[in-house]
Amino acid sequence: MKIYGVALLAACYFAGLIIGELLGSIFGVKGNLGGVGFAMLFFILLTDWMNKKNLMTEDYAAGITFWTSLYIPIVIAMASIQNVNAAINSGSVAIVSGIVATMFCFFLVRFLISLLKDESES
């Protein structure tokens, strides 16, 4: 049953979000703190374990990979519902800080990745 795979995915999704909500209330912040990240970790651990125990059938996997394949179309739909006009018209402080921070981030990523290479060579 493909739905079992989807249901496991949904269970991990909620398990992660619950952790995120808990962290949010501990730190007194409105919103979910990294819940999706925890959900991903749970899902990786669960599917890893199921693979080892030969519990992950092709059928379960098909239910999960269907959602994986929908990811890109979802991102495209997401792009089409952004408040692009407000972002462009909102005043230069937003545009400048968005652009400058992102440009500096590209350099920072490049620098951190170059550190990684040194690490693997040594």
Partner: protein
């Protein structure tokens, strides 16, 4: 008759959104293959097309037009987050452990770095209230955190809107520019995708960029980017804001 067809699309907005995104991807893939000879990935073009379409609407982009309201469900945070978790299927725990320390370092460096840039620029634009500056800087980290800090420090809705805008600008640049300069930045491996997610932090931008570079990298970039959002939501209002306020006194 035309009215009846319109009513039908209106009633079935979610199903219509599948068809629309399919058509968008078909057109952009065709342009990428035949006209641009695969120099720009079809996915990157489709995302750019989505952003252009969004400019025809308002607050919720194209979903503000009733006919396209189904896009809000397909592209909303519920399905996005669910699909992001599903990309973790087949991600290897070993790869994540391998990137462990550098992933964590890039997270904290990334949040601190973005916030600092945001503070400097807000200062240059003449903002003097620590709450306003912290809100703008939080938006520079990622647009989810702008309103979180803004609400915590009691910033005005104009400032909160600006902070969201800064984050959305970042999403736009990260989604569209990253695939074009991937070699320059050095995004090839799963570990480098984790560093990228940790520094940039915008889940939408990072996952869109990874999707057009190599879909296998999506879970690694998205994982650190979601933790970035969580850490930024803790650090910006509860640690950085008090420090900023203290520094400015």
């Amino acid at each position: 008759m035309i009215h009846a067809v319109y009513e039908m699309f209106l009633k079935n907005g979610f199903v219509l959104s599948f068809m629309l995104v399919g058509i968008m991807m078909f057109i952009t893939q065709f342009i990428s293959d035949k006209i641009l000879k695969n120099k720009i990935p079809g996915v990157a073009l489709a995302i750019a097309l989505g952003l252009i379409l969004a400019s025809f609407g308002g607050k919720a982009g194209i979903a503000d037009i009733p006919l396209f309201s189904g896009m809000a469900l397909l592209g909303g945070s519920m399905l996005r987050d669910f699909a992001i978790v599903s990309t973790a299927f087949g991600a290897s725990m070993q790869e994540i452990k391998k990137a462990g320390w550098v992933g964590v370092v890039s997270l904290f460096v990334g949040v601190f770095f973005n916030f600092t840039v945001g503070v400097i620029i807000a200062n240059m634009f003449g903002y003097t209230d620590p709450g306003d500056i912290a809100t703008l800087a939080s938006g520079t980290c990622t647009f989810i955190v702008g309103p979180i800090t803004g609400n915590a420090v009691g910033a005005s809705s104009e400032i909160i809107t600006l902070s969201i805008a800064a984050g959305v600008i970042k999403v736009l640049i990260v989604s569209v520019v990253t695939p074009l300069i991937k070699n320059l930045v050095g995004i090839k491996t799963k570990t480098s995708a984790m560093v990228f997610g940790g520094v940039m932090g915008t889940v939408s931008g990072v996952s869109a960029a990874m999707a057009s570079i190599n879909p296998k990298l999506v879970p690694y970039g998205a994982l650190t980017a979601t933790f970035y959002t969580g850490i930024a939501a803790i650090l910006c209002p509860s640690v950085f804001y008090p420090i900023l306020k203290w520094l400015m006194l």
